[in-house]
Assembly symmetry: C2
Homo-oligomer: 202 residues x 2
Amino acid sequence: MRSGEYSTTIEVPESSAVAKGKAPLMAAVVHQEQAGWKRGVSIMDFILRLGAIVAALAAASVMGTSDETLPFFTQFFQFQASYDDLPTFQFFVIAMAIVAGYLVLSLPLSIVSIVRPHAAGPRLLLLILDTVALTLNTSAGAAAAAIVYLAHNGNSNTNWLAICQQFGDFCQKVSGAVVASFISVVAFIFLILLSALAIRKP
Amino acid sequence: MRSGEYSTTIEVPESSAVAKGKAPLMAAVVHQEQAGWKRGVSIMDFILRLGAIVAALAAASVMGTSDETLPFFTQFFQFQASYDDLPTFQFFVIAMAIVAGYLVLSLPLSIVSIVRPHAAGPRLLLLILDTVALTLNTSAGAAAAAIVYLAHNGNSNTNWLAICQQFGDFCQKVSGAVVASFISVVAFIFLILLSALAIRKP
């Protein structure tokens, strides 16, 4: 009877030891799976970032090189349009250059979160910086879009005349730059979404 | 010697049982502490949202009621400026109304995350919707700011004349609306930051 008592009391720790042995094992498997999933998210993040760099650089450079000189001129005056003429376009070039520079500098952080999928710090930092960059990018794109709209259509109520009849090539280049900046805005929204999804689970 | 062996093997499960009894207790305490911290974040989220609603509504309504009729007129023409005259300002009013509406509708979700601090779903949804609303809000504010700048300063290169000398009150109201919209942009950035911080820890 006593030995039977002992055997039962010994069995309990044994089974609990087995359960203890299994629990960390299963936890490790789940951990591993989550690591794979998070690594996949990080790789998508990296690729999206490369795409956003291309879009931001294209926007800045197309706007920066947009000037057009008309083939006719008077004795005292040559008709020329350049992004320098409008302060909004200058802001656009500077802002998009800053955004592109930030994106290049954020690549190492993105690589860190590929190598260490469970580190929440780099992702959180990226999410916050991405939000600020998104705001800068959107404001540059929207302000330039408002001016481009005015250049295309003019406004009769305020007597602002459309200039795109005269400077067609200039207007086309500027419109292209605005479109590129909005592509980079969409990329930023997806980047923030990815970061949030990856941060959610520990 | 044998009984000594037994006594040691029995001691082990006993101590492990004590450790097991303690571990969930401490985990519960940590859980409780995190719940308090997360609830605090959610309450700040709620208050920030109320502030953003006020700013967005102020922006939409100030812009929407901005029209000015000059006290002199000719036989055929009365000089009048209103937000209707510029498509960008119409977009501003619509966008800020949508943002204010979204903010009001997001209050219940914010309350849910006060009541249930550990639910990650509502926070994630809020973060994503906030990002989209931030983009809309920023684009409306930046586009209106570009036009307001033009109305104040004009542009000699494109022969767009400043209209604020004539319509001073109109310009002041419009500028106020733009400032209010940027206050709501800042509130959104902080809302996203708070959501990200709260999502990070499970």
